[in-house]
Subunit: 479 residues, 2 copies
């Protein structure tokens, strides 16, 4: 039977008209099929969603658990298989009969175990699917998440969609990218976790996101590549259209062995991967933090044009460590001009301060002068961009202002600085020391992200990301 | 007049019988002298504490603000000067008349500004003090913090003392070390921020902490060294007695310039500093995070003897990145023996798992089997130590257990593993995704630290610290 194209299959996966989940427990707390159902109900966008379990029964709200696919009184576009590997062949026969278009195999326990018998089962499964013209995501993965369509495996992701797409071989890392990214102010369009990639593979997901008009930036987590030459071509085409940032798991020997155990991937060496990066022009990173740092830079600070940074705020010792971190990352901190220093000195006391660079003024972000300092520093001809470094620990403690009024004052003074600066401004928010400060940090992060700021958890993270972005820009000019 | 020795002076500073603070505002919220008073009252250990302000008046509780030192009806051992530089000479005359033993100059605006007139003032101040036999901390620093004596500049540090001492040229970095360290479970004995070090210098503080029986580990943040040969000798003597971990600010060119602006320090190059490290045997680190990571290793995991680590938990993609991070840090992840894998397989399903190393079992820390897995892995002869990696994001969300019962279950299953393991165990706690998870993380951190665990925020942080510790041990054997 003739199959759908990958593009058509992923159109179904990212916008299914109807979904069945096989292996739904009547117990809400059970991890597995029930997890998908709960997530989808939480987002509340997809209406034609059907639970299947051979034992039948009812959900808490009285809606039926169907004993098999045939019993569902509707077409099924998209099937999530959460049954154990031992039950998979029967489910596939049912799926063929039901004319399912795409199946997502959450089901694991195939070739990735390294056991021959289980690898054979995977072959049988995928032969059957191919013969029937059913396209498949997985096995051994979390599948699809999108706040646009309402399909998800997460019960706690933001219902607000954004313009960052993700393809990740690991479901856990995909969840971490979404959770941590959302905490940092990133919002996502389409996210796919694709596991063993026995049918649809990395290049299929990448092509889809590259073609997708709702996606401006693509993040990838890859353990192994199924088809190297095609991936090089897909990555190159993607990079022509939008920034592509890739975290390659299993670059070290130990990591490569772990990747083989995880998704059956043959991971390849750092050297090969670096060569692929150079050929295609994606941005390579080493961890999930860096993936999110880069997503923020390419979305919010694409106008950084050179390595000369001015750091504004916070404390003398903090300034010394900030300068060290910038220098180590390969940025430059030129001294500000006499004129710039004189202008800052007009409204800032000298004791306990320095206006050279870093500008260590006695800067609590809620104080007057933040915007004025940023404006003056941005006008210095030796500076390409600014980092404004502020803390959140002034907002609590017995002799500090109450949290909310502190946050309000920080917002009042930080929010306008972008408009006052003629150069790109990145924010760096200091480490909160306890739960009340974490609440302040979460609020400031949310409101300042919504106002279009990229916020970094440390000078070092910001400096490394900015340097990487500059190197990538320089490389692009060679293409 | 003959001076006290540095040791005697720091005995006064760390255990003053009576304290006066010059420059106390009647407004509780004002930063400056009032900050010290509020912190000391919060700790509530020091009773003979006197506020001074030429304007006089009263504090909220009706206690007097003395118009000058002479008016205080008590001796003054230790004077905190929070007056502006313009008022410092008069205050010193009063201090001499009052027979003050040690003065802490929070007052800034001296040689660190780079202005000749202000450097001259600093010379006059320190000539006067020397002639009078008064020893001095600072200027341009936060002074002393100790939950043992009750002297502090922080209104929010823990009232519980521990056995880690700190000397830090920067007050802000000292605060960050205490705040971040306490969040990570470190507790402190004596902390000094010493600024320009115009009298008592880095070696005086280091010697004091090296001799101090209440201090097991010493952390230092240094920008410049006043007396190089003496420092080498002091560091060497300290290292013979206890671990010494030093963060050197201003190692890069940009950082060195910032250090000069900050404390007037001539910072010296990385090469010189590395040579000092080799000569003396302290442990060098590059940031405050690493300082705390190392403090935890030397306090809680001194029995790590080799680089062969087993990582237990958490998720397939997480295991791949964990393996990469360990390999990059220079640790080894040997495959576990067939026997070890077989024993874990007896009670753990294979699908979605791998028992090689990392041991990616479907491990939620609250589930049964954590302790059993750790026990079996620790018995593997190819393993020197273990990292147990657990997340806190299972404890929230609509279909998860309530926070408290989740924390209880994690504690129940994680707390005993130390006793079940024949090898050192480090804990790695995953990133909390929001405020409820942060609360869970803070609670787990607190209770597990109290139970004697070192807890790291990432596999990478733990791996880097363990490798650094192993290198340091190997270096020690050469002395």
């Amino acid at each position: 039977m003739s199959s759908m194209s990958s593009q058509e299959a992923l159109d179904v996966a990212f916008h299914p008209r109807s979904v069945a989940i096989a292996g739904v427990s009547p117990d809400r707390r059970r991890w597995g099929g029930r997890t998908f159902l709960e997530g989808i109900r939480q987002l509340d966008r997809l209406k034609r969603v059907y639970a299947v379990n051979p034992k039948g029964g009812e959900l808490e709200d009285g809606s039926p658990i169907y004993t098999n696919l045939a019993a569902i009184p509707d077409d099924v576009d998209y099937l999530i298989s959460a049954v154990p590997a031992s039950a998979i062949l029967g489910l596939i026969d049912d799926a063929i009969a039901k004319k399912v278009k795409v199946i997502h195999l959450f089901t694991a326990g195939f070739s990735e175990t390294g056991e021959e018998e289980r690898a054979d089962l995977e072959s049988v499964v995928f032969d059957k699917l191919r013969d029937a013209g059913i396209r498949a995501i997985g096995p051994n993965c979390m599948g699809v998440h999108s706040a646009i369509s309402g399909l998800t495996w997460m019960s706690d992701a933001s219902p607000v969609a954004g313009r960052v797409g993700v393809f990740s071989q690991s479901g856990m890392n995909a969840s971490e990218i979404v959770h941590y990214g959302e905490r940092r102010g990133v919002r996502f369009s389409y996210v796919a976790s694709y596991g063993n990639a026995s049918d649809l593979n990395e290049s299929d997901y990448l092509d889809y996101l590259a073609n997708n008009d709702e996606t401006d930036v693509i993040l990838g987590y890859i353990e192994g590549v199924k088809d190297g030459p095609r991936f090089v071509q897909s990555a190159r085409r993607a990079v022509e259209r939008k920034p592509l940032i890739i975290l390659k798991g299993g670059q070290t020997e130990a990591g490569s062995r772990a990747a083989h155990s995880h998704t059956g991937s043959l991971a390849g060496s750092t050297a090969i991967w670096d060569a692929v990066g150079k050929q295609t022009g994606f941005i390579g990173v080493n961890g999930i933090d860096e993936l999110i740092d880069m997503a923020l830079i390419v979305q919010h600070l694409p106008e950084i044009r050179g390595p000369r940074v001015a750091v504004v705020g916070r404390g003398g010792g903090g300034s010394v460590l900030a300068a060290d971190a910038c220098d180590r990352a390969g940025l430059e901190l030129p001294w500000l001009s006499e004129e710039t220093q004189r202008r800052i000195g007009e409204f800032t006391p000298l004791a306990g301060s320095s206006f050279r660079n870093p500008v260590d003024t006695p800067l609590v972000p809620s104080e007057r002068g933040t915007g004025q300092t940023v404006q003056i520093v941005a006008e210095d001809p030796n500076i390409d961009f600014l980092m404004v470094h502020f803390g959140v620990n002034w907002g609590s403690g017995p002799n500090a202002a109450a949290g909310d009024s502190f946050s309000d004052r920080v917002l009042e003074h930080i929010r306008p600085i972008k408009g006052m600066s003629s150069k790109p401004v990145a924010l760096v928010m200091g480490r909160p020391r306890g739960v009340p400060e974490m609440e302040i940090a979460v609020r400031l992060q949310g409101e300042l992200s919504a106002a279009g700021y990229a916020i970094f958890p440390s000078i070092e993270a910001c400096a490394v990301a900015a340097r990487r972005y500059l190197d990538w820009q320089a490389g692009r000019e060679l293409f």
